[in-house]
């Protein structure tokens, strides 16, 4: 069994809601973290990211000035002088499939839907510490490998090397809704 020495980790927490920042700070300090830096908007968080060089970033999505998604995109600049590889945990009230996909494509490492729990946060941190994924760089993406699992039995098309896209047909929710409205 593994434990994390939280006192060796430096966190950057970015959330515009002071109550949520307080909750996060309480949880991280209780885990054992000593260095927890806080920001209430994306722009300040980016400055603090460069200045403090945190090991792990925990950010909300919806924030003023620029949001958590833009923060992730700015951190994930492969040519930047800062560290583009730091794990980013997005903690947000958004939990729709579309949002999760957008966050993943912005380079977010882990997604944690509110309501927050001590267990959920600990597991996400343990995951980024113990199981880091390789990074993928393409013309349009730089970030953690979006394929979490290697399916040895996968026999479908290899999308990453090109070729025609295979579209899987799924029943439309629109039709379903129309029949119920």
């Amino acid at each position: 069994m593994f434990r994390i020495d939280f006192n060796k980790l430096r966190f950057l927490v970015c959330d515009d809601n002071p109550h949520m920042r307080r909750i996060l700070r309480t949880l991280l300090h209780s885990f054992g973290a000593r260095e927890v830096y806080e920001s209430e908007d994306g722009a300040t968080a980016l400055e603090m990211y460069s200045h403090y060089v945190p090991d792990i970033v925990i950010t909300d999505w919806s924030m003023p000035i620029f949001d958590g998604l833009e923060l992730a995109q700015m951190i994930r600049q492969p040519e930047s002088k800062g560290n583009p590889y730091a794990p980013i945990i997005m903690l947000t009230g958004h939990s729709e499939k579309r949002r999760v996909t957008v966050a993943r494509d912005a380079g977010v490492t882990e997604f944690l839907a509110k309501p927050i729990s001590a267990k959920g946060l600990y597991q996400r941190i343990l995951n980024v510490v113990a199981n880091p994924r390789p990074f993928i760089k393409t013309k349009t993406y730089f970030g953690p490998d979006r394929r979490r699992n290697t399916a040895s039995a996968y026999i479908g098309p290899e999308r990453r090397i090109g070729g025609e896209v295979e579209v899987l047909q799924q029943p439309s929710l629109l039709d379903k809704a129309r029949t119920t409205v």
């Binding site: 809601n17 729709e96 600990y122 090397i161």
Partner: protein
Amino acid sequence: MAKDKPATLQIEAFADHHVITQPNPLRRVLRRVAEKDLDDPVARAEKALARLSGEFKNWMEVETNRLAAAHAAILKDGFTKTTREELFRAAHDIKGDATTFGFPSAGVAAESLCRIIEHAPDLDQVPSNLIAHHINAIQAIVGERTKLDTISTASELSRQLRGVADEYLAYANRDRPEHLEAILAPSIVPAE
């Protein structure tokens, strides 16, 4: 603290992408402990959260007042980019925080309000009562939380509001499949 930049990157080049593997810079913060190790950081954090819970009611009232103020601005100035964003942000914060603060029904009502703001084709066309009822319900749930007999009422109130809002959104978006998909699709994020 962990190193700023990975010491050695292994880069494998493929036709249209690179795979970059780095030695885990955070590995040194992991330590193996015995299975019977009694230290439980999660339990410790939950206790700390419980100690903080005495403040949750006040925090929830602050959030609710912010929501009411955002609604009042809309009643005064109508839906503008600024007023819409503030209403959404206030409702969205309650959606995310309310369960943690012990007001899950307020969170359900706030989520329903968020969905209206996000998916209604034209907010000016949304029946004003529909939005007002959500605001009033959240205020009532938070204000009356101390009365034990209101908990089931709060849950039922939120459930019914969500039903009415979903019915409205499904009808208003009947010709907007991308919104309809989002409205009807379940969350794919596991709670933990």
